[in-house]
Symmetry: C2
Subunit: 144 residues, 2 copies
């Protein structure tokens, strides 16, 4: 597996160790990691701290996103898909979309290429987490 | 004008005083302000710190958003519209949509009621800011 996705999975596991939601992301630019992050809803008490948001934030004010690729362990929700579309990130690679479908059509309609790697490790991380923490998961996706 | 929008405009002006982008937001729940914020891209060096994001963050982990109304001085971009849709904020009141159109259809397609008050003060704040800072504005909306 490509190093970028391995790093995103490391971020997801780090979140789990911290008592948080196991989703991780990495932002690549010209083959280099320029940002990484994980969901910090629990850790920071911040409902907006989805993995993709944290990752893009950690990359700082980079200007144009036209050469970036976002790797994320789970298909993005509307918050994160909105960030991807608004900032013009043209490609995303997702670990899986079985435990959360997101809205593939919204991304495609806005010219975002989506590559879904359907990785067992990502699916298992989320399935186990959701089974143990259904309320926290529903809070994170706005379904309380 | 309703106090909530006045407070959102205060937030926008506060951002301008700090050298930032003049957009402000307020989150109301059952008639009370539970969060307020303004764009902090410049102040925090944070590309994700749009006014609506800061405002929802400042309200903390409130659980369900079903009784909330978001007041914002400018029509939300996809990042902020994505947050509104994902968290189930059912109504937004916007100061204006002349200097940034956003995507009204996306919001309506996801059952968000949008009330556009077309306020001169909000339009003037943004028109003057964009005229003086075109590059910063294009950075904020991902159009560099």
């Amino acid at each position: 597996m490509e190093e970028s996705m391995e790093t995103a999975i490391e971020e997801a596991k780090l979140s789990l160790q911290e008592g948080g939601i196991p989703i991780g992301s990495v932002l690549m630019c010209d083959g280099k990691i320029i940002g990484r992050g994980h969901n910090r809803r629990v850790q920071n008490g911040d409902p907006l701290a989805h993995a993709e948001i944290e990752c893009i934030r950690n990359a700082g004010r980079i200007g144009s996103y036209s050469n970036t690729i976002l790797f994320t362990t789970l298909m993005p929700c509307y918050l994160c898909s909105g960030a991807i579309v608004q900032f013009g990130i043209e490609k995303i690679v997702v670990g899986e979309s079985r435990t959360f479908k997101g809205d593939l059509e919204f991304l495609k309609d806005h010219w975002v290429a989506v590559d879904d790697w359907d990785i067992d490790e990502c699916i298992e991380l989320m399935e186990e987490f959701i089974k143990k923490n259904p309320t926290l998961w529903n809070e994170d996706i706005g379904k309380l």
